[in-house]
């Protein structure tokens, strides 16, 4: 097994992990504030991708503006889901909203199947994105480079937002103590809507990265990566921004190294392997690698 080969699988893992990281951040910020695991989050990714496909094939809009539209639509969908599926149930407890999120996930999948048919569809980005570049023994596609750049930009931007802006500080306050935040005059709904908007917009971008790599999309494509991103958020310590990113990269790299380095007789079971990683991590770090024990909630 050559170093070149291991590096190529490592890059596959980092690329996949970057997508998980971006989606995991969305899980984490919503969970941080609401203690809600939003299982529909992965399907927002799918919506974003279908919107892109719709605008790419039916209009002559340039790619960047198609991406902007798709992100905006996903943000709106995410915010509407919060408003109509979660907010009315918020006083009913975490379990009720959790069940609701599963229902929303199924609903979105079925809606997409009705509108776009359950069949796979081709999703081609311009050749520019699939071009391979050689850096020594490291081979990267344009898409890989953009994906890594996106994660770095996301981490920097979110750090700035969370640390330096008013809404970011409010978000941290809410995730620590919702009632005390209300006593400061922070309107939790504004912060929650902001969290859903950020998470959904990021999910649309993650969807683009997945679809661009896979070249095909289908109405169920977001669910499994969404679930793995949730594992990533838990592995990293749910509620923590850096934990979500680290967890995403850990899960992505672990999955790809498993698929790439293990004997081919077991590699088809990589989905199961991700859950094994989750279980093992939780056995040693019950709060995730970066997680601290739950703060008080009153």
């Amino acid at each position: 097994m050559s170093a070149e080969y291991i590096i190529s699988q490592l890059i596959n893992g980092l690329r996949l992990g970057s997508v998980y990281a971006i989606v995991a951040v969305g899980y984490s910020i919503v969970y941080g504030i609401l203690r809600l695991i939003n299982f529909a989050h992965g399907d927002i990714m799918t919506i974003g991708v279908y919107i892109m496909l719709l605008f790419m094939t039916s209009t002559g809009m340039p790619l960047w503006s198609v991406i902007v539209v798709s992100v905006l639509v996903s943000v709106i969908v995410g915010v509407l889901i919060e408003r109509f599926a979660y907010r009315p149930l918020r006083s009913a407890g975490e379990e009720a909203t959790l069940i609701s999120s599963l229902a929303v996930s199924t609903l979105l999948q079925n809606l997409l199947q009705m509108i776009f048919s359950p069949q796979k569809k081709a999703f081609y980005l311009p050749d520019f994105f699939t071009q391979q570049h050689q850096f020594g023994i490291v081979k990267l596609s344009t898409m890989n480079i953009l994906t890594f750049a996106a994660v770095i930009i996301m981490v920097i931007a979110l750090t700035l937002v969370v640390q330096k802006t008013k809404i970011g500080t409010a978000m941290r306050a809410c995730s620590e103590n919702l009632d005390a935040s209300r006593l400061m005059g922070i309107k939790p709904n504004q912060v929650i809507v902001f969290a859903f908007a950020v998470g959904s917009g990021l999910a649309a971008l993650a969807g683009l990265m997945l679809a661009g790599e896979y070249k095909t999309i289908d109405p169920l494509m977001g669910f499994v990566p969404g679930l793995k991103a949730f594992c990533a958020a838990v592995v990293g310590g749910i509620g923590s921004l850096y934990g979500a990113v680290a967890g995403g990269l850990v899960i992505g790299v672990a999955e790809m190294l498993f698929a790439g380095l293990m004997p081919t007789s077991v590699t088809a079971y990589r989905d199961a392997f991700v859950f094994v990683v989750l279980i093992v991590v939780l056995l040693f770090w019950p709060n995730g690698i970066f997680g601290r024990s739950e703060g008080r909630r009153s």
Binding site: T169, R172, E176, D179, A180, R182, L183, M184, I186, P188
Partner: protein
């Protein structure tokens, strides 16, 4: 002007009536104590006034406007600010960030700066600890921060919930000194306390609460000598 008027307030948790027909009043610049044992319904009353809990009956007025159904986050702008029980500072945020959050709704930078200065003068220790995470402060320092945070919003009515809870006698004394200072500056304060002696010492008037009802009210200087109060609440302290 009547600052706060609570009229026949009823609050229920599920089937349990925690507050059962409480009425109380605060004049402007007045410091009023609400005293009672654990579970008497003091904190529930306070949370309902500040909008964290919903009233099942009765009405609450602030400066003659009804605020019964106004949620907590909207009351702050009107000037009703609560310093919650157990401090509840944002432990992962710095002292400075906690204070900034106190001024969350304040848009005028000059007002913020002035309030900030006022708080720092009142609590010089917070100046030293500015960049520290609030969770690393001692209990007394956290209480200072909680009060300072509330002051950042320019409150007209300060609701304090058990400010002495869990503090050493020395720290308790310091906290009450600060309250006295605020009172002197003309702040209107509703103080919920189990520490009846300290509360009666600094307040103008007081209400005694038992199992969801006000059982006694009067001038603090008189209540402190009232045998019923002495027996029930001041026994060990005197």
């Amino acid at each position: 002007m009547m600052m706060l008027k609570v009229d026949n307030l009823v609050v229920r948790y599920g089937g349990i009536t925690a507050v059962d027909g409480v009425s109380l009043e605060l004049e402007e610049h007045e410091t009023v104590a609400l005293i009672g044992a654990n579970g008497a319904g003091k904190t529930t009353t306070l949370h309902t006034i500040s909008g964290l809990l919903k009233a099942a009956g009765g009405k609450i007025f602030f400066q003659d406007e009804e605020i019964t159904k106004v949620p907590a986050e909207n009351l702050v702008a009107r000037g009703v600010v609560q310093v919650p029980e157990g401090r509840q500072v944002f432990a992962k945020l710095t002292v400075e960030e906690n204070l900034r959050l106190g001024a969350y709704l304040q848009k005028n930078k000059q007002v913020i700066r002035a309030n900030h200065e006022k708080v720092m003068t009142l609590f010089p220790i917070l100046q030293e600890r500015r960049r520290q995470a609030a969770g690393t402060l001692s209990g007394g320092e956290q209480q200072m921060l909680a009060i300072g945070r509330a002051l950042m919003s320019n409150p007209k009515l300060l609701l304090l919930d058990e400010p002495s809870m869990g503090l050493s006698p020395l720290m308790t004394q310091q906290v009450f000194d600060v309250l006295l200072e605020l009172k002197k500056q003309g702040m209107t304060i509703l103080l919920v306390e189990q520490n009846a002696y300290e509360a009666l010492t600094i307040s103008d008037r007081a209400y005694i609460m038992e199992t969801g009802n006000i059982t006694l009210e009067g001038r603090s200087s008189e209540l402190i000598h009232d045998p019923r109060v002495k027996d029930a609440y001041l026994g060990g302290d005197l």
